[in-house]
Assembly symmetry: C2
Homo-oligomer: 350 residues x 2
Amino acid sequence: MLKVGINGYGTIGKRVADAVAAQPDMDVCGVSKASPDFGADGAVRRGYALYSAREDRLSAFRDAGYDVAGTSEDLIEESDVVVDATPGGIGAENRPRYEAAGTPAIFQGKEADDLVETSFNARANFEAAEGAEYVRVVSCNTTGISRLVAPLEEAYGVEKVRATLVRRGGDPDQTGRGPINDILPDPITVPSHHGPDVNTIFPDLSIDTMGLTVPTTLMHMHSLNIELESEPTSAEVRELLAEESRIFVVEDDLAIDGTGKLRELARDRGRPRGDLWENCVWGESINVQDSELYLFQAIHQESDVIPENVDAIRAMTGLADGDESMQTTDEALGIGLPDPRRAAVTSPAP
Amino acid sequence: MLKVGINGYGTIGKRVADAVAAQPDMDVCGVSKASPDFGADGAVRRGYALYSAREDRLSAFRDAGYDVAGTSEDLIEESDVVVDATPGGIGAENRPRYEAAGTPAIFQGKEADDLVETSFNARANFEAAEGAEYVRVVSCNTTGISRLVAPLEEAYGVEKVRATLVRRGGDPDQTGRGPINDILPDPITVPSHHGPDVNTIFPDLSIDTMGLTVPTTLMHMHSLNIELESEPTSAEVRELLAEESRIFVVEDDLAIDGTGKLRELARDRGRPRGDLWENCVWGESINVQDSELYLFQAIHQESDVIPENVDAIRAMTGLADGDESMQTTDEALGIGLPDPRRAAVTSPAP
């Protein structure tokens, strides 16, 4: 069993830990946290060995009653691979520590592309990470766009992507963020940095993105216009996307009108934390006119990159090829909502 | 002085009344309301003659202590022109009443285009309403797009418009509306009905729109992609738009990051009700690449159609031609924020 260490146990780290624990070929050998807040309690209850991110915080954990296994240095030594889920920018500071220990590491989307050998999306470029020591799983929005572009590019060719990303202001636990009752062009300049980030996965793709931020916490929403090189029907595109395990095509008769009902469906399905790992594309919105495809998709910012982190581990360590890894990940997590009315309820351990 | 009656004294009606009262060539001869709520108090305080929308509500107004001049039938008889600002669909029911009295009438954007001789935007098709008896001022979103498309079409030619309209869930006084903490594709089907509505002003324009609704009340936000027939620079487009009196190009150094600060600027300027009659286009967002123009604009849903209603009155009655009418309206209201740091504070008479 591959030993995976999780450095940083926040929104992404705690989810990656649970996803790794659910896999048949890897184990969580420990998680490292910066402070003994309520997240530490969650880690201990799940049976993960707890490490302190810093030497000088060890006493804070012990004072709070936690049995700490060591510092993150110890965790890095202990691990076959580390998933770095620390806040943006800290990953870059950590890379020399992974190098010193000879431990391969996966970074998250807020780190720069040039920190790693390759940026990664399982559906689009699994092979690029095979054997790599330092890999970056792209952001939630880039993951969502990459999953959509990959099958469209293969089936029809993509001439140009134009996307408006209507982003949630913060996650449910980010109480310090806004806006309240506002719509912000964010960034005001056009195109936004999101397009170039997609180019770390598809270097030759022509893509322009515009970002907005609104007062919600549940999911991002993408309003997409994609010029194709050929002219499929709307029904053909819908079928193509429905075959993708990490795209959930929302059927009309489910009466799902927005991100709230999507998350409620995930909660009803018993999904851990009510997570939605799949892109959620409204079937009714898929429309092709003169080779231009329009659609709406919602992206769960807290969880869509989780299966990608698991697949990146397998790509780097050679545990499986792309198809096999994605299938194993999907089965272990219960990914795939082809028809939520008939599918069984599945959740990862624990 | 032209006698203008206002039938329906809600969000639009009360603003049209004040705008008419501020003009040098027309007077408010009365306003008609459905019920004696706090809006009736506002009408009386402004000195408008108050009419009851229905005969059977006269006693309700009188019981509430209001001196009512009659019913809306009386107001229609009394008026040279009526601005119908009743809720969507009621305008169509009212048209036979205007016909019976021989009174020309202006309807709002929620009525159907085929109810009238022409749909109307002062900047784009003033002439179409000259001498007409029944005219429809298009919706706030269509007004916003029309003001933008008209100068671009004249200067460069427009090949295609693609717009994502991120709409506010309700106005500040619409307490029964949502969503809370959600982003709704609205409508889910693409393209939305907004594009065809713009075609009531520009019949030959190629335009696809996508609608979303978010939990805000202040303004709509448009994320726009416009393919031009020629290739101006970003700076040229910025200058072109800055010359339009009803487009406010938001300068970078004002540090206006969203709709909240825009409305705060309007409040600081002493604008009545904090209204923003102009399209608000972020200058920094204006970007032309390969003949494709991108920009963000915010639209104040409660007020951008107000000057258009005033101009429609002049077009129908022959009081002025388009340029003269728009100039008179703009001066009377204090429209135009070319440089809010230097412009004088102006507000219309209450």
